[in-house]
Amino acid sequence: MTTTTVRRTRAARPDPRRATPHGPLAGTGRLLRLALRTDRWTTGIWAVAVAGLTQVSVVALAELYADPGEREARAALIASPAATALAGPGFGLDDYTFGAMTANELALWLMVPVGIMGVLAVSRHLRAPEEDGRLEIVRSQPVGRPAPVVAGLLAAAGGVLVVGVALLAALLTTDLDPAGSVLMVASVVAVALVLASATAVAAQLTTHARTSSAIGMALLGLAFVLRAVGDVQGPRSTSVWTWLSPFGWSQATAPYTLDRWWPLAVGVAAVALNVGVAAVLVRRRDLGTGLLPERLGPARGRVGGLVGLTWRRQRTSVLAWGAGVVGTGALIGLLASAVVDFVAEGAELSAILGDVDDAVAAVFGLYTVFLAVVAAAYVGTAVGAARAEERSGRAAGLLALPVSRVRWLGAQVALAAVAASVMMLLAGAVMGAGAAVTLDDASQVGRLLGAAAVTLPGVLVVLGVATAVLGLAPRAAGAVWLYVAYVGTVGMFAALLPDGADALSPFTYLPALPAEPMDWPAVAAVSAVAAVLVTAGLAGVRQRDLDG
């Protein structure tokens, strides 16, 4: 289904060979075709994954909440501030139809991955070719100066649209109202286009694809937090904070309930503004540079060994991910009293959730897993960076020194493990401190720190999987992301998925503190699995040919 879409896109364009190559946009068509061709697998995998997961989730939700009474209870639960922070503005809660439920609880989790895809696609098309010199060859052809940027943006937008079409096709197979589905998909696409165009601006400011995608991801995180704060403060998109975030505009469309298109106008305006700014910046700078200048550094080195080198390579990434995890932990902790008030007020809700302490514990258990999944994603990037070291040839330079492969990879794996542990423990402590202050209960610090600590073996299993793939099947490195996505999906939506679908996620076996009792044998077993996987990866990398 995705391939047909790509073909249709190609066929719809006039044959670029017949166009005369002059003017600022000369060559855009050909560059666009090349970019779409390069992306066809990536786009295809995203489309299939997003559409497939959506289809499964919607069908499962429909079965699980077939009864209106169940949906009403669900509405009461989802209206709690803590749930709102990870869901939506809560349109249609008083008549929680299945459509309202989909828009409120699922849409955000479609916007996040498609938005990430847009950010990565723009960095890939705009900054990476310039960094490795491909753009120089392209620009020496009869190609207009802005043409590569226009083609890159169009290619990123095209990829987002392909995923959108796949998503729409998946939604149309369900019982959901087609008009609402079109609006919801348009909202998802709008978020991705805003974030992609903002990344295009970032790509003009920095010299490196990695920096520009890091800025794009940071914007995504910021937008997420703004809408979380906004939705908690003012239900149904009434807070100013909500309207500062692309997620906020897109969720304000309220598909399946109000079905209003006008909030998307804000998104369209933001895209136009970003593209305009990027176009102005493109004209102002030289090829191969950003607007932020290069500075000279020290003439002598203080980089201490392999761990020091890994830290220098990774510190921006560690600090960015760490800030995200710890910041989210703090936010969750501060929401604790809102959860308590909410449960205490609603009598029928206490009947579902048990007493107040249990409710708080259940909510924190879920959130801690969410944080752990983010930490696991960081771990995936850290091992992915080791693979990039290998492919670039930098690893060969190190391994030609008296440095063993186990030491080389071990230093990177160890740093990832320590960094992920520190960010989780800090997040647990901060979350606990927030909860302790708002609930006036000092014991929360210890409880939530413990809850965060007990997820660490799970994060280390993801590290182990990534290491094992690197050591044993390095060409399948991309599969690590499928695993991270799987762990994230079952961590957040286990209840919706068929029984046994969560069997391969380590978090299934770890006790969800503080709601569940401590289970030392499970923690020990999951830790052992992580150790075995890491060891297998280190042994594998010793036995295979090195690429690059």
Binding site: T207, H208, E294, R295, L296, G297, P298, A299, R300, G301, R302, V303, G304, G305, L306, G308, L309, R312, R313, S392, G393, R394, A396, G397, L398, L399, A400, L401, P402, V403, S404, R544, D545, L546
Partner: protein
């Protein structure tokens, strides 16, 4: 004399491509050994096997008496490597990179490091992402040459260097050789190999096609001789009767010919008997030697045998 590198019947395949197909390579301790072959002949693959980055499918590779796959760490203490396409950590400066690489090998001689930085005119404060290809190459050269090692493995080390820096490079390699270090120098710059190498191995499609001293290899290739003579017709007849004389041409006062190495003695004796007035002899360059091995490919490319 022992061999610093002894490679026997080395085979390495990547999928269906046979990158090394029974390669032999012997590098004697203390010599500078030129390693020649066009792109894709297997030079880099050989060096990567010698570094223990790739595992050979068959054959034997001994490096400094050890097995490069099984004990890379001990062997790497005694060697340094310069790749042809140097990639560095974009966020580190050149100086930080040199010192990091030095620290990982247990320390560099600081005086030697500074002297090399100065001779290669490298600005060590620049971050690697801002370096040109030539400057990245200099970083790798300084890091390798400042190390106290017995063996230097260099895979097209001068690609991207300007001619001035190429001259510095040659000087530095000569000094290394004078210190008794062994150098395996893979290169496309034949003049550089000719200037530096004691012995040369030419490889083709993963096999060594000829190996020996430059003089040995030259002997296998023709020397061009142009002589002004008193008795041109007599010389023509006598030369035409000799084995190993090719492309004989005459004009009013000169003969021009190409002589095999083995025929040179007879050619010169014949000329001397016919009243030599002037003589110019071009010994075969390494380029001639190299192109002779690839004569058929030149023909395919429509360039003809040289």
């Amino acid at each position: 004399m022992t061999d610093a590198i002894a490679v026997q019947g080395l085979v390495k395949t990547f999928g269906r491509t046979r990158a090394l197909d029974g390669l032999d390579l012997h590098v004697r301790t203390g010599e500078v050994h030129g390693f020649l072959g066009p792109n894709g002949a297997g030079k880099s693959t050989t060096i990567r096997v010698l570094l223990g980055l790739l595992r050979a499918d068959a054959g034997q590779a001994l490096l400094l008496g050890g097995d490069p796959w099984h004990d890379p760490v001990t062997l790497h203490r005694r060697l340094a490597y310069v790749p042809g396409d140097v990639t560095l950590w974009p966020q580190l400066t050149g100086g930080e990179t040199i010192d990091l690489l030095g620290r990982l090998r247990g320390g560099l001689d600081p005086h030697r490091r500074d002297a090399l930085v100065e001779r290669f005119e490298l600005d060590t404060r620049v971050r690697a992402r801002a370096y040109s290809k030539g400057n990245r190459q200099k970083v790798a050269l300084v890091a390798a040459l400042a190390a106290d090692v017995e063996l230097l493995l260099m895979d097209e080390p001068t690609s991207g260097l300007d001619p001035l820096m190429g001259a510095v490079f040659q000087e530095v390699v000569r000094e290394a050789a004078a210190d008794g270090r062994t150098v395996l120098l893979s290169s496309h710059v034949l003049a550089e190999v000719e200037a530096l190498a004691d012995r040369v191995t030419i490889i083709r499609r993963g096999r060594a096609v000829s190996t020996g001293t430059l003089d040995d290899l030259r002997g296998l290739t023709r020397t061009t001789v142009v002589a002004g003579l008193a008795d041109v017709p007599g010389a023509r007849d006598a030369l035409a009767a000799l084995d190993g004389v090719h492309h004989l041409r005459v004009d009013d006062a000169h003969v021009t010919l190409a002589a095999d190495g083995a025929a040179l003695d007879a050619v010169l004796a014949t000329l001397a008997a016919r009243g030599v007035r002037s003589v110019v002899a071009h010994p075969p360059t390494l380029e001639d030697v190299f192109l002779r091995e690839y004569g058929d490919e030149l023909a395919t490319l429509g360039l003809g045998e040289r």
